[in-house]
């Protein structure tokens, strides 16, 4: 059975290649990280992560407390409490669940507690839509969380393990994003292994013998300092992410550069659909266009340096919008780059290699400004 393979795989340090969906890959990584407390509320398409973890705990593969909460708000609250007491913690959600726990996301980031959350990025309504896009992950953008976006199940596995390590280094919670269904429910070959993360450490914890209060009403300058410290540490987390890249799968640090070195045309994207985008890049390269892809592995800390280094024409392809502009389109322009922007794939609308070829063709032939690929 799948489960047995994994168990052998990580415990003695050997690497095992297994067929896993991104959901399952994340569950494996969580098991290897050995959190003490897990609390999560099911929501399509994240439910398999939660179910897999519950199975692992029931079978003894994972020794953790699993709290069955009644809502996502409580899921993040339980995680917050457990982290405050000094436990390694994990939760997962999506879309409306993320929206429901939004307040607690601010709270745990402001509390500077290490935590890891998987987000299967799914469209936020209205109207209802359970399929993949990036309209939900942007919710975390200003909270102070580290936000990573994986492209493959392997990267989801590696990034989840890296998340435990990095969040405990910098005392900032870390979200790992995977695309709903196209990644969460799609099986790929994943190499399972144990990078041996250190024991949990955190800036502070609360014990019954303590005589202090945490997060009391705080006026003006002191409150502002907290926000500033978080912002500075979020910036500096980029260094830790880059330094630990080799240890956690060599995916490139804050960004992955695909055929970008000599590119006259650069496309900026994030997420699972970058796989198809890379195929389209190859097609256009075959036709003689010097085009490359800057895949953002992180929405926060935002890879400003890599974006500012882009020369030539830039196109940002978004799977989520703010207003008429895409979210990444806005982020990239804030770096001083005059970029074209295409918004596509919202609500899980399929954007495959042919579609990307069309979009990129229009881009290199100067026919794109700001538009939606409907």
């Amino acid at each position: 059975m799948q489960g047995d393979l994994q168990t052998k795989g990580h415990r003695d340090g050997t690497r095992v290649r297994v067929l896993l969906t991104s959901n399952e890959a994340i569950a494996e990584a969580v098991r290897i990280a050995e959190p003490e407390v897990i609390a999560a509320y099911p929501i399509t398409p994240q439910s398999p992560i939660v179910e897999r973890l519950a199975e692992m705990i029931a079978s003894g593969d994972l020794r953790a407390s699993f709290v069955r909460v009644e809502s996502e708000h409580s899921a993040m609250a339980v995680i917050h409490g457990a982290a405050t007491a000094g436990a390694r913690v994990f939760t997962a959600t999506s879309s409306h669940g993320l929206a429901y726990m939004y307040e607690m996301c601010w709270w745990i980031a402001g509390s500077r507690l290490p935590a890891v959350m998987a987000v299967a990025t799914r469209s936020i309504g209205a109207p209802w839509n359970i399929h993949g896009d990036h309209t939900d992950i942007v919710l975390l953008r200003d909270t102070g969380w580290i936000i990573g976006m994986a492209e493959t199940a392997q990267e989801a596995f590696d990034m989840t393990l890296q998340a435990f390590f990095v969040s405990e280094e910098v005392n900032i919670p870390f979200a790992v994003g995977i695309d709903a269904f196209t990644m969460s429910h799609t099986a790929e070959v994943v190499e399972i292994w144990n990078p041996k993360i250190p024991e949990r450490r955190q800036a502070y914890r609360v014990l019954p013998t303590d005589r202090f209060a945490v997060n009391a009403v705080t006026m003006g300058k002191a409150r502002m300092k907290a926000r500033y410290d978080l912002a500075v540490d979020l910036e500096n987390s980029a260094k830790i992410i880059e330094k630990s890249d080799a240890e956690f799968g060599n995916h490139g640090g804050l960004v992955e550069k695909y055929r970008l070195d000599d590119a006259d045309y650069a496309v900026v994207m994030m997420g699972g659909w970058c796989g198809d985008a890379k195929d389209a890049i190859d097609v256009l390269r075959g036709e003689g266009y010097k085009i490359g892809l800057l895949r953002l592995r992180f929405l926060r800390p935002f890879p400003k340096k890599a974006v500012k280094e882009l020369s030539g024409e830039v196109l940002v392809v978004d799977k989520g919008n703010s207003d008429i502009r895409g979210v990444l389109g806005i982020e990239v322009s804030s770096c001083g780059i005059e970029a074209k922007n295409v918004v596509a794939g919202i609500g899980g609308v399929d954007v495959g290699v042919e579609d990307f070829c069309k979009i990129f063709k229009n881009f290199v032939e100067g026919r794109i400004g700001l538009e939606w690929y409907l």
Binding site: R211, F212, A222
Partner: protein
């Protein structure tokens, strides 16, 4: 990581010397007091000690001690 301002430390008089809030101060008439310690139990601020001495730095003058005293041994005197 700098823990300021997330951590707040225990302090007597966290709101300052709240005795300044009083309009009336409770005064114990020793000859009537039988040290039943009921006032000690019911003082919301906890400023009455085992010897029925009142810490006037923090006593807010709410008057509960005067009301609860069965011996009518406490008098509220204008500040």
């Amino acid at each position: 990581m700098d823990l300021e301002p997330l951590i707040s430390r225990m302090k007597l008089g966290a709101a300052g010397e709240t005795g300044s809030w009083r309009n009336y101060r409770p005064v114990v008439k020793r000859e009537l007091c039988n040290v039943c310690k009921t006032c000690l139990s019911y003082c919301p601020e906890g400023v009455i000690n085992e010897m029925i001495e009142i810490d006037y730095r923090f006593c807010k003058g709410c008057g509960i001690c005067k009301e609860i005293c069965k011996q009518k041994a406490i008098e509220m005197v204008p500040e």
